[in-house]
Amino acid sequence: MKKILYTLLSLLLFSACSETISDARQEIVPPQIYPDYLGVTIPTNVAPLNFCIADEAALRIDAVITDNYGNNLHSQGRESLKFNLNDWHTLLSQNCGDSLSVTVSAKYDDGWHTYRPFTIYVSPDSIDYGICYRLIEPGYEVWSKMGIYERNLSSFDERALIENTQFEGCVNCHSFNRGNPADMSLHIRGSHGATLLRHNDSPLTAFNTKTSKTLGFCVYPYWHPSGRYIAYSTNATSQLFHSANGNRIEVFDTASDLLVYDIDTNELLLSPLLGQDSIYETFPVFSADGRSLYYCAARALPEGSHQLDSIHYSLCRIDFDPSTGTFGSRIDTIVNAAARHKSVSFPRPSYDGRFLCYTLSDYGQFSIWHHEADLYLLDLSTGESRPMTGANSDDTESFHNWSSNSRWLVFSSRRDDGLFTRPYFCHIDAKGVVGRPFMLPQRNPRRFYRNRFLSFNVPEFIIGPTRFNGHKASRIINDDYRKDFGVRKYVEH
């Protein structure tokens, strides 16, 4: 209904309000636009990059996108451009691996100004169907309305999978196996707490992941490529608040261990190496071949200590044998961030096994509240890490994940206003060259991001619609039944 309304209104506006640009002053600088799409690399199947003039004094905006074959696409609007969806996709498909030139004009009180054209690169690498994320206010401990949503990246369609209006509590930790929603995990907190699991498109089952032998509930899930295992951490988490620091909040663990859940046997697999009292272990992820487990580890603070700036997580690795569900006997430190008084969070290996992307901040593991947090790329063949300069900004870059073809990275950034997290996408080629990122496109980006007082939390790629039935899920959540996780005894080496 809303879509039809928008389309009709757009058509009406297009036909009635387009102005001819005359006597435009030629500017030698490129335009300042919102979102900043200058020089970005985009996939062929992304939704139109509508944008506005950053300066709100502009009365109208006009843009012509031209390719090297003489095709062009025109849009004009009062506040924002609104490219025709079909024409946009046609133009992009005709320019796969090529570049587009965008000429922008803006009308001010003194007339039209035409700016130096800028370029948009169209990568031949396509992006996945969409992303799935949690929308939540960037708050402290109490939560208001929130939910898990999916967004089609080729259009502007957003759909709620489940919202906390359907049950009492909060929802988080959505996870898919390499973006495939046939394998899905979702965590519910509160009086109806549960972990919902869907394996091989089976019906959802609600699990109680807390056992007498583990610290607490299983969080931060990551699927094994085989779909048989899910790596979790279990964390005793606390929060403290800054009294005079823009980072506002510190979320920290006072204990944490790692575990792997075997779906086939309904057992948690433990290792004494991953449950050491003197070490905080968190954010486990499987390597692309499924034979290693990467995670973050830091020396634990003495009990009661709040020297949070001395918690430094390094990137570690342990072998994992998927045929037996057993762990190796040695821990390798892959990135010794602690030695540099830095801290690693959110390790994410690319699915082609070439790279591992992680967030580096000054301390701790909850980097979303750290303005200094940046993305780093570890070349797994050389072991060398480097900052993803092309993608990073002066503000927070934090959670991230790879597209199923390992050529796109979606990441959270607070560069827009310093508080509300937005999803950005950057292209990473086979050599690790990082393209300029672009913000998730919207129909009218300024209006959309201004009106939305919610952060995009944990953006995950999905290769198709999740087919998640929120009503059925809420019935399962509101029901008392929970299947308990079992625990397998240690297998000593």
Partner: protein, 464 residues
């Protein structure tokens, strides 16, 4: 001629009763319950914005909800709010009269309105509920007066439209801030609006008998008014009204009014004591007059931050005035998040814009101010404040923001839900101009009986 005069005078009397009822509602909410209206207003933020409107009206019951929210924004001014409530309740009563001829049972036409009045005594009852009953009555009235031909079709069309407009009247959501609370009184009002006309219609012969008609009309009204008045009196929460008054006065920084209020009646509730102490401190009288008033230990001075939407707001006023800008920001943010029906708050948005402005997070402040610019009553303030963004000189000169920026903590430390004396000491010793911190610190030592620190503080103060 005589009959006509008789009908005319009866009509006039009925109109007078309706007027009397309206005036009673108006005076009740304007005089006895004004802060309940203020309380309602502060837990919503009506935006003149198409996305906001669409998000509400796309849901069943959205029209009633939207109309309720639209009217509630006027509750910022209690008398305007009282007038709106009075008009709505009078319209409900008049619609009842239009549905069926009540005759001798004229007083029963007031029952739904009285029940709605009772419903609105609850500070968490939302005005959308009144609109739901009103719209339902309007729909029934239009159906009753539709010519018989085609009425079936009109009913078929009306039912889904009515469901869209007032839908969840059937299950109560949208009409009470607590989603789990069943608004029994709203149900009762809605049911009475349907059942009473049917019942009167069933005994229309007796009801419309002209013998003693005037007497019965008087009696029925007086009986209903007496019973309902009694119920209103018993159910009105004047204690809550006092608490809300303190919160209101703190919100609007009416320090002198607070002082005269506490002089007349010493508050003994948590919020009242917190606000009383803040007003005393703002006038430099806290330590000297501390024990002339009820105290609640440290909790009356600087209460721990709770996880609800009500008690943290006056507490946050104290944090804000002291210069604990980040603490105030967190407290207000959490209070807003705790609003049970997930609405936003004009009061909280305003304070979040202010705290972000003071700490220099201008883009975040701009976001809140932009939203406030879409409101009726915060627009002008937001526009003025917008001009301060990034203007360091203007902020430094601003009597409130400049002072609070100067008083704010220079050294960072972690805090949680409990204010410690060290937090006050930090405030005062890093900026001895902060007389509010001085007052609070003295009071803190007095309440905890810490003579040593109290003496040291005084010595420090004297030696300056």
């Amino acid at each position: 001629m005589k009959g006509s005069l008789f009908r005319c005078s009866l009509f006039t009397i009925k109109a007078l009763y309706t007027l009397l009822f309206g005036v009673a509602v108006f005076l009740f909410f304007g005089l006895a319950y004004p802060h309940h209206l203020h309380y309602q207003e502060q837990y919503q933020l009506f935006l003149f914005d198409s996305t906001y409107v669409w998000e509400i009206i796309r849901l069943p019951g959205g029209v009633a909800d939207l109309l309720g929210r639209f009217c509630t924004q006027f509750f910022l001014f209690a008398w305007v709010g009282a007038a709106i409530v009075a008009v709505l309740l009078v319209v409900v009563q008049l619609l009842m009269l239009r549905l069926v001829s009540f005759g001798r049972l004229f007083g029963l036409s007031f029952v739904p309105s009285f029940l709605l009045w009772l419903f609105l005594l609850d500070e968490n009852a939302l005005l959308g509920g009144v609109w739901a009953v009103l719209l339902t009555l309007l729909a029934i009235w239009s159906l009753v007066h539709h010519p018989p031909k085609g009425r079936g079709f009109v009913i078929l069309v009306t039912i889904p439209i009515l469901y869209w407009m007032v839908g969840p009247a059937w299950n109560g959501s949208h009409y009470h801030r607590y989603p789990t609370v069943v608004p029994v009184l709203l149900y009762a009002a809605w049911l009475s609006a349907i059942i009473l006309p049917l019942a009167v219609h069933a005994c229309k012969k007796w009801a419309n008998d002209t013998r003693f008609s005037t007497l019965f009309s008087h009696l029925s009204f007086l009986l209903v008014a007496f019973c309902m008045g009694l119920l209103l009196w018993k159910n009105a929460n004047f204690k809550a009204e006092r608490v809300m008054q303190y919160d209101f006065m703190a919100r609007h920084q009416q320090w002198n009014r607070i002082l005269s209020t506490i002089k007349a009646e010493k508050p003994n509730n948590q919020i009242g004591v917190t606000v009383q102490n803040l007003a005393l401190a703002m006038r430099g009288m806290l330590a000297d007059h501390l024990f002339e008033y009820h105290q609640n230990g440290i909790a009356g001075l600087l209460p721990d931050v709770e996880r609800d939407a009500t008690s943290p707001l006056p507490t946050s006023e104290v944090f804000y005035q002291l210069g604990m800008v980040y603490v105030a920001q967190r407290t207000v943010f959490e209070a807003q998040e705790a609003i049970l029906d997930f609405q936003k708050s004009g009061r909280c948005y305003k304070r979040l814009a202010q705290t972000n402005l003071i700490i220099g997070h201008y883009e975040v402040a701009r976001k809140y101010l932009t939203a406030l610019q879409k409101t009726l009553f915060y627009r002008e303030w937001a526009k003025e404040t917008m001009s301060l963004l990034g203007n360091e000189e203007a902020i430094a000169k601003h009597p409130e923001y400049g002072r609070l920026r100067q008083w704010a903590y220079a050294e960072d430390f972690y805090f949680s839900d409990h204010v410690t004396p060290e937090m006050l000491e930090d405030l005062f010793f890093s900026n001895t101009d902060n007389r509010l911190a001085f007052e609070y610190l003295k009071a803190y030592y007095m309440l905890t009986g810490d003579r040593k620190r109290y003496t040291n503080l005084l010595l420090h103060s004297v030696s300056r």
